[in-house]
């Protein structure tokens, strides 16, 4: 079917306007996660840095847990008052909350009020995101011709990954732009510069609100409204009518639950794994993910487009199946690339430096011993051991703080990029066609409400909690460094079985029902 040129131009504008806003919302949501260790120091001051990090992750997780409630609140609004104004509202809430996070004074200035305000703002971010995605996907799908629905909605699907890309990129740029000296620039970033990525958000949101204000209401929704056929109570219709509830449950257990864990394992957990388990340098661990995202992102559109020809089901299920069977070997390979036990140390080149700084008014001093180990393949391992030299005779630091960071050589670096690229390819398979799949599953009058909830339980709760639960599993079962993956493998495995048995592969030719 050939479309008229003005129709093509119009749908491009719609995709652009919807995608830019959704991209900004994902960016706003992910900078918090990307800056978790810095935020831990600013708002959750604990003597144990791991506990502080867990508190931050808990706050981060709170944003995910609240997403289904956002889906209900804004989904209901979207089905009652329309798609356009609802996702305009979510954008404003998200932008304001993100900007406000950048302004909140730290714990040292206002005490416990600081983490509480951060938690409230994080909850608002989660609520807004819960309302955004369903609206944008529905809006684009309801404008798209039936034979190109997968292709057009796949542009919306790129925004989550590109939002993560943008957040990592802006953080890295800000981290290096605050001073000519690299170490001082990083110190300034950790002191106050981390606020920049949050504050920048307001400019992006203003532009996006302007674009969205010029958009028109979805034609299918507008038609329903003219005919007086909009739902009076979409929540009741979605979840108390057996026929709708059974489809909501099918969408959750047969598609979005698996998609969520594959999305977060391939991107967030992979980055956290190479930084915290493989001990790869802060910057390298992020640029590895940036390259992998850059190479893999076009495949969202490839698989979305392909789903218009062969159906959505099998592309999503194959992506899930590949993830289930290859996660352990792929993560095992990531670990072995960085593992110094597989390398030979060039002992003659080892460098040791010691710095001692007196601690004011105590008579004690802080000692930092930096050791750099060189390996035959070009890997550098930097170990920083910090302890206190007490003035009191015989008193020593029980547990010195030891930090390890590895710089990989080019071949190890690009091998990691390749492995994470494969994992993001799985993400593109499960995520590329899912918006079209969800839109086709529900009737127009309750679509926003019905599709948003399973999406945000699957992606937000099952997916968003992945790094948190994986980290927790490694603290319970300490013998296996890859034990955290079992959560993703089991959830994706269950979803694969349900999808295999109960989903159909038919492309719905008419979503105007």
């Amino acid at each position: 079917m050939i479309q008229p040129a003005n129709e093509v131009q119009s749908i491009r504008k719609i995709i652009m306007a919807s995608s830019v806003g959704t991209l900004i919302e994902w960016y706003d949501f992910y900078i918090f996660g990307s800056l978790a260790p810095v935020i831990a120091g600013q708002f959750f001051p604990k003597t144990n840095p791991t506990a502080a990090l867990l508190s931050t992750l808990a706050t981060f997780a709170a944003g995910f847990i609240v997403r289904p409630f956002g889906a209900l609140v804004f989904g209901r609004l979207g089905d009652l008052i329309g798609r356009k104004y609802t996702f305009l509202l979510t954008l404003i809430i998200m932008g304001s909350s993100t900007f406000a996070i950048g302004l909140v004074p730290g714990y040292q200035t206002i005490g416990f009020a600081a983490p509480i305000i951060i938690l409230v703002l994080r909850l608002l971010q989660g609520l807004a995101l819960g309302g955004e995605y369903g609206g944008a996907a529905t809006y684009v799908a309801e404008h798209a011709p039936p034979n190109r629905r997968g292709f057009f909605t796949s542009w919306i699907q790129t925004t989550a990954t590109l939002g993560l890309f943008l957040s990592l990129g802006i953080i890295l740029i800000a981290r290096h732009s605050l001073d000519a000296d690299r170490t001082r620039s990083i110190a300034k970033f950790e002191d106050w510069g981390w606020r920049i990525p949050f504050l920048v958000s307001i400019f992006l949101v203003v532009v996006s609100v302007y674009i969205r204000l010029r958009m028109k209401e979805s034609p299918l929704y507008a038609k329903l409204k003219t005919e007086g056929k909009t739902s009076v109570n979409p929540l009741k219709e979605s979840f108390t009518h057996r026929s709708n509830l059974k489809m909501v449950l099918l969408a959750l257990f047969g598609a979005t639950m698996g998609q969520g864990v594959v999305w977060y394992t391939g991107q967030f957990y992979a980055q956290s794994f190479i930084e915290n388990v493989c001990k790869v340098d802060f910057e390298q661990s992020r640029t590895i993910l940036l390259w992998a995202i850059l190479f893999a992102t076009p495949f969202f559109v490839v698989f979305g487009n392909w789903s218009d020809k062969i159906g959505r089901k099998w592309i999503m299920l194959v992506g899930m199946f590949l993830a289930i069977i290859t996660y352990r070997p792929l993560f095992g390979k990531l670990y072995s690339i960085a593992d110094e036990k597989n390398k030979t140390e060039v002992v003659d080149e080892k460098q040791i430096s010691t710095a001692i700084k007196p601690i004011v008014n105590t008579g004690n001093s802080l000692r930092k011993i930096g050791t750099t180990h060189f390996f035959d393949d070009g890997t550098l391992l930097m170990e920083t051991r910090t302890d206190t030299l007490y003035a009191e005779a015989g008193k020593i630091t029980d547990k010195p703080d030891v930090k390890i960071s590895k710089l990989l050589p080019a071949n190890g670096y690009w091998l990691m990029v390749g492995i994470i690229f494969i994992m993001i390819l799985y993400v593109t398979m499960v995520y590329g066609p899912i918006a079209a799949f969800l839109v086709e599953l529900f009737p127009t009058k309750i679509r926003y409400t019905s599709m948003s909830l399973p999406y945000h339980i699957g992606n937000g709760i099952f997916g968003g909690l992945t790094p948190f639960i994986a980290l927790l599993l490694t603290t319970i079962y300490t013998g296996d460094k890859l034990v955290g993956l079992y959560y993703s493998i089991i959830v994706a495995g269950l979803c694969f079985l349900v999808g295999l048995l109960y989903l159909r592969n038919k492309i719905d030719p008419n979503v105007n029902d």
């Binding site: 867990l54 026929s243 489809m247 449950l249 257990f253 048995l501």
Partner: protein, 81 residues
Amino acid sequence: MNALKRVAGILWIIAGPLAIYYLVRTAIDEINKKPVIDTKIQWAVFIIVFIPIAIGIIIFGIYALKGEYDHLPGSSEDITD
């Protein structure tokens, strides 16, 4: 195929209580091991969030067992209630 879909329904019905049992038991063990506020909050959150989802899979199993997924609706007209 429809018979398999219905029989698998029993599996989903069993999976719900099993998941709840595993979750609550692990939470109790972990809180006993480390009875600090962080552990309690984190496990309370998991229980509050995942128990309704586990109930959801039981309902899904019941629908599957009753044959509700033998035929999926193609349009709003197929939705009868």
